[in-house]
């Protein structure tokens, strides 16, 4: 286990592994998302109250859970980088941030489009909406902080602390609808009792979530590779690999 961990943290090995894994994430992700989109937009029946408008949740919910999941992944990678001084972990954290930021933007945008006809407003300073907006600012702050250092190592350490501190916001986003009176409704699937969404509507949603996770993994592989290229641009193994292939 530790041996594998050390092996993986070596840039040449990680560069190759990410390249090999990528298609295994990417193509299943595309297929799953296509099937789930068909299931959600065509096969699933309209909601009893919200009619066809509820179908936007097939994009809104997966991107919302990914925005949180990616942040946790980023914070864990940053913490590993801080504690074990593994450069590759910092590279992973840096690779996570823009993807997570885009998922957050997608969540806020689809939520806003959803909120207009259902609630009657584009935006409300509701606990769930506000904490998700803070999540976006954390991603943007992380990226801005990285960009403000010329030295990669200093950028790594400073931004890693921000990423680790910001993880406090994740449970706040998740449980904001339970802790406070909120305009946003409570959780439908991530609770202990049976999901409060009909199974004919649930399976495309779960499939879409899985597709989003795999898509994130595929994009992460690409981003890690380009991050390694940037950091190791003067390394001899890189010129050997690139010339050799």
């Amino acid at each position: 286990m530790w041996l594998w961990f050390h092996k993986l943290s070596s840039p040449p090995y990680a560069y190759r592994t990410a390249g090999n894994l990528r298609p295994w994430f990417f193509w299943p992700a595309i297929i799953m998302m296509a099937v789930a989109a068909y299931g959600g937009l065509v096969l699933a029946p309209p909601d009893y109250q919200q009619k066809d408008a509820f179908r936007i949740l097939y994009v809104h919910v997966p991107s919302a859970s990914l925005s949180l999941m990616v942040y946790v992944a980023m914070a864990v990678a940053a913490a590993v980088g801080l504690i074990w001084r593994i450069k590759l972990a910092h590279a992973v954290a840096a690779a996570c941030a823009p993807v997570g930021a885009w998922f957050t933007v997608l969540t806020l945008a689809t939520g806003s489009i959803y909120g207009r006809p259902m609630w009657g407003t584009w935006w409300e300073w509701d606990p769930r909406l506000t904490s998700e907006l803070i999540l976006l600012f954390l991603y943007l702050g992380y990226m801005a902080l990285r960009a403000s250092f010329d030295d990669t190592q200093r950028a790594d350490r400073a931004s890693a602390i921000l990423a680790v501190v910001g993880v406090v916001n994740v449970p706040i986003v998740k449980y904001s609808v339970v802790w406070w009176n909120s305009l946003h409704q409570g959780p439908s699937i991530s609770k202990l009792s049976a999901p409060s969404i009909d199974s004919s509507m649930l399976w495309p949603l779960l499939l879409m979530m899985l597709g989003f996770v795999l898509y994130f993994a595929a994009v992460l592989c690409d981003r890690i590779r380009s991050e390694i290229l940037k950091r190791e641009r003067n390394a001899s193994w890189l010129s050997e690999t690139l010339v050799g292939s």
Binding site: P45, P46, D47, Y48, Q49, Q50, F54, L57, A79, L82, I83, W84, R85, P117, M118, W119, G120, T121, E124, W125, D126, P127, I161, V164, V165, V167, V168, I172, V177, V178, W179, W180, N181, S182, L183, Q185, G186, P187, S188, S196, I197, D198, S200, M201
Partner: protein, 158 residues
């Protein structure tokens, strides 16, 4: 203690410290963070009388009235303990209906009447096809018209 061990403890302490600070801050501002008041809060006088606030609850069945020839609507909001009468002039959201959870923003007027400037519909976390909803409605299943403020019920119990 090895340096690695020390860094591990340090990172742990940072997270714990920030989490603690945020928890304290959020608990201290609990009142200001309250997105809406319940009809019970309003009748108990917990809601501010001089400024705009929000009140959330279910629209009582059969309480909706519209003044003839105007857009003024009146309805009763309930949290199944207390009621507040709301008056609102304007277009109501699509999801507005009796038995539906809504949030109204406005001020308290005379005789405890709540004068709303804005009405938002709140939908619950249940999603189902129309035929399933019909079956549930026939069986008088609570889920079709779930009381919205789940968080409020817990708060009231405290």
């Amino acid at each position: 203690m090895t340096p690695r061990r020390r860094r591990m403890v340090l990172v742990g302490l940072i997270v714990l410290g920030v989490a603690g600070a945020v928890t304290l801050a959020l608990t201290a501002f609990q009142e200001n963070l309250l997105y809406y008041y319940t009809p019970s809060d309003v009748t108990a006088g917990k809601a501010p009388s001089d400024r705009v606030f929000r009140v959330g609850g279910m629209v009582t069945e059969g309480s909706f009235q519209r003044a003839p020839g105007s857009l003024e609507a009146r309805f009763v909001l309930t949290d199944y303990a207390q009621n507040v009468t709301v008056s609102y002039t304007g277009v109501l959201p699509d999801l507005f209906r009796e038995g539906q959870g809504i949030i109204a923003r406005g001020k308290l007027g005379q005789e405890g009447m709540f004068i709303a400037e804005e009405v938002l519909a709140k939908h619950d976390e249940n999603y189902m096809p129309p035929d399933v909803a019909d079956t549930l409605r026939k069986g008088k299943d609570k889920r079709v018209t779930t009381p919205i403020p789940t968080a409020t019920v817990e708060q009231d119990a405290e």
